[in-house]
């Protein structure tokens, strides 16, 4: 297999907790705590987990919108964290992001045309203004909007349409990787599937790889090739989508999947209810971070963190059950 497009190795983002008059650092919130995964050319990597588990921080750290505190991000053979300012700017043509909130992610004072021209102007693409205008119209058509509406303002569009504009903006620089940070969570269910299908079509047409961040397992299953399950800043299980859903290994994944509603009233399934709350990422539990809520907790889990192991080809899990 060829080199993966994106390799994340031991990514860490610790936010300092500052207290007192002197603003001294008293501990850290370990939002992302040693996350590693690969994204291959043209595939969709799903990243799921509860809110607060560090999914979004992971996504933004990869783009250095949040500066990571540790680890390596190798994109296209280059270590993103070591790039200088101008190299980073060039790199951004290949890595884009689609945000969760379609209302906050578009500048309310720009017309759609200005929003979509912005990336072209920044990177000096498509020479003159007439050429850019044509490209804007193309982009809008690509995401299923009429090019004739380019002179309108974002507030004149619906949530789903705004999200399409956000996607068009990401496409404007022809990226190879798009980090989709819960791109459909803020949308109505009927609009969700349209936007998901659009993302799917774009991938087929342009071969873009996605890191798809979501908390909705059915959404992730629909779109992902491989899925990483995050818990408290770590990836606990990583597997191809089909395998993960048919045979979840990690007890946390099992609990999550048992919560996905099945559209069959006759269907009875053992529902695993997680006990307790998500622990604070500033004071994570000893040993395996998941042990206080785990149904299969053993003695060793309380003292020793489990190793990240490939238990089957292409299936990784961090759990003592599989040692």
């Amino acid at each position: 297999m060829s080199e993966p497009l994106l390799q994340v190795r031991g990514l860490e983002k610790y936010f300092p907790i500052k207290k007192g008059v002197m603003r001294l650092t008293r501990g850290h919130v370990r939002a992302v705590d040693g996350v590693s995964f690969d994204v291959r050319e043209g595939e969709t990597f799903g990243l799921v987990g509860e809110s607060g588990c560090g999914k979004s921080t992971t996504g933004r750290s990869i783009l250095r919108l949040i500066e990571p505190t540790g680890g390596q991000i190798i994109f296209n053979g280059k270590d993103v964290r070591k790039l200088g300012r101008s190299e980073m700017r060039k790199m951004r043509r290949d890595m884009q992001i689609v945000f969760q909130d379609p209302y906050a992610s578009l500048n309310p004072r720009y017309t759609v045309r200005q929003i979509l021209e912005e990336p072209m102007i920044i990177h000096g693409l498509y020479g003159g203004s007439a050429e850019r205008k044509k490209k804007v119209a193309d982009l809008l058509e690509t995401v299923g909007l009429s090019g004739s509406r380019m002179n309108r303002y974002p507030h004149e569009f619906s949530g789903g349409q705004r999200q399409r504009i956000g996607i068009a903006r990401a496409l404007a620089v022809n990226p190879r990787l798009i980090i989709a940070d819960e791109p459909v969570s803020a949308l109505d269910v009927s609009v969700q599937s349209q936007v998901l299908n659009l993302l799917d079509d774009l991938q087929k047409e342009f071969g873009i790889a996605y890191v798809f961040i979501a908390h909705d397992l059915s959404v992730v299953k629909h779109i992902s090739d491989r899925i990483g399950v995050m818990y408290l800043g770590k990836i606990v299980e990583l597997a191809p989508a089909d395998g993960l859903y048919s045979k979840p290994l990690h007890p946390y994944t099992q609990a999550l999947l048992s919560a996905v509603p099945v559209p069959d009233p006759e269907f009875k399934r053992e529902r695993i209810i997680l006990q307790g709350d998500l622990p604070s990422p500033s004071k994570p539990p000893t040993g395996c971070h998941f042990h206080p809520r785990c149904k299969d907790c053993m003695e060793i889990c309380k003292t020793t963190a489990p190793e990240w192991k490939e238990v089957e080809p292409d299936r990784f899990v961090a759990c003592h059950l599989y040692n």
């Binding site: 700017r89 951004r92 992610s105 309310p108």
Partner: protein, 304 residues
């Protein structure tokens, strides 16, 4: 039944096709929704017109002391055919002085506010966008500026600089930026967390581009409103200083100095207070109405 059904559906189609009946420019729609903007704007225009053409509009030289401008007992003349707003205790025409006074008021109001706008916006942006120690430093200085009695500060500075029109607006402007800086900083803090700012970073925008093309336009609406209101306020402040005697020096006419001179004789010459007072009221009200209206005009969502 079918007849009863037809009209509503037709009406609905029409409503959908033309939500506002006909297409109007945003300017017209704002005027219709907020008629007071129009009133405020008109008042400001009148003020500007008067200030520019004071020398053409004034019937007399504002500083000339008319021999026939005082009654036999030396008292000022009440409004009459020659002096339509009466004369002051030196026999000068109040109407002419009032028109010339508009120049001083407007000049001080506008220039002082522009200076404050520039200083306050620059400091506020630096403070809000870069944060850290520079933010703490700027905000502590702002706290000091706001805690200090403002008039006292201005009086002290004008006293050092020597009273003159230029020095008044310089002093007011240089000292009056604190509230602008606060508001700009708060706006920047709010706006920079928006995902469209993050998106601009993700697209590789340079910092100056993010600051001036994205953050600045999105914070200017409240700042422009504040500045418009500040013009009115600074006109009042100029009057206060002139009233206290450290503003515009005699014989130059200013509304504040006219009030100061008038208050000694107002028991038998009340018009000396009425007219400058009304002129001030008119100007400050005009700027305030305009400021309120601009806030609506700058809001892209409010008026559709």
């Amino acid at each position: 039944m079918s007849q009863a059904m037809t009209p509503p559906s037709t009406k609905l189609t029409q409503t959908l096709a033309h939500p506002q009946g006909k297409v109007q420019s945003k300017f017209v729609r704002v005027l219709k929704a907020y008629p007071l903007v129009f009133v405020g704007g008109l008042m400001v225009l009148v003020l500007i017109f008067v200030a520019i053409f004071a020398d053409k509009l004034a019937p007399f030289n504002p500083d000339y002391q008319f021999a026939n401008g005082l009654a036999a007992d030396g008292a000022p003349l009440a409004p009459n055919h020659t002096f339509i707003m009466g004369t002051d205790d030196l026999g000068r025409d109040v109407y002419s002085r009032l028109l010339y006074g508009a120049r001083i008021s407007l000049e001080v109001g506008v220039f002082a506010s522009l200076i404050s706008l520039f200083i306050g916006t620059s400091l506020g942006i630096i403070s809000g966008y870069y944060g850290k120690w520079i933010d703490s430093l700027i905000m502590r200085i702002t706290d000091i500026m706001l805690a200090f009695p403002f008039i006292l500060f201005v009086v002290a500075l004008v006293a050092v600089l020597k009273p003159s029109v230029d020095n008044i607006f310089l002093a007011i402007g240089v000292l009056g930026w604190a509230s602008t800086a606060r508001i700009v900083r708060a706006q920047v803090l709010a706006v920079k967390e928006f995902e469209y700012v993050q998106a601009a970073r993700a697209l590789g925008s340079r910092q100056w581009r993010i600051l001036f093309r994205i953050v600045l336009p999105n914070i200017m609406a409240p700042v422009i409103v504040l500045t418009t209101l500040a013009i009115g306020n600074n006109m009042l402040l100029e009057s206060t200083l002139s009233f206290l005697g450290i503003g515009v020096q005699p014989p130059t006419p200013s509304w504040g100095s006219m009030l100061a001179e008038g208050q000694q004789v107002f028991e038998y010459a009340p018009w000396l207070l009425y007219y400058p007072g009304l002129a001030l009221l008119f100007s400050v009200l005009g700027f305030n109405l305009l400021g309120d209206g601009l806030r609506e005009l700058f809001n892209p969502r409010r008026v559709r």
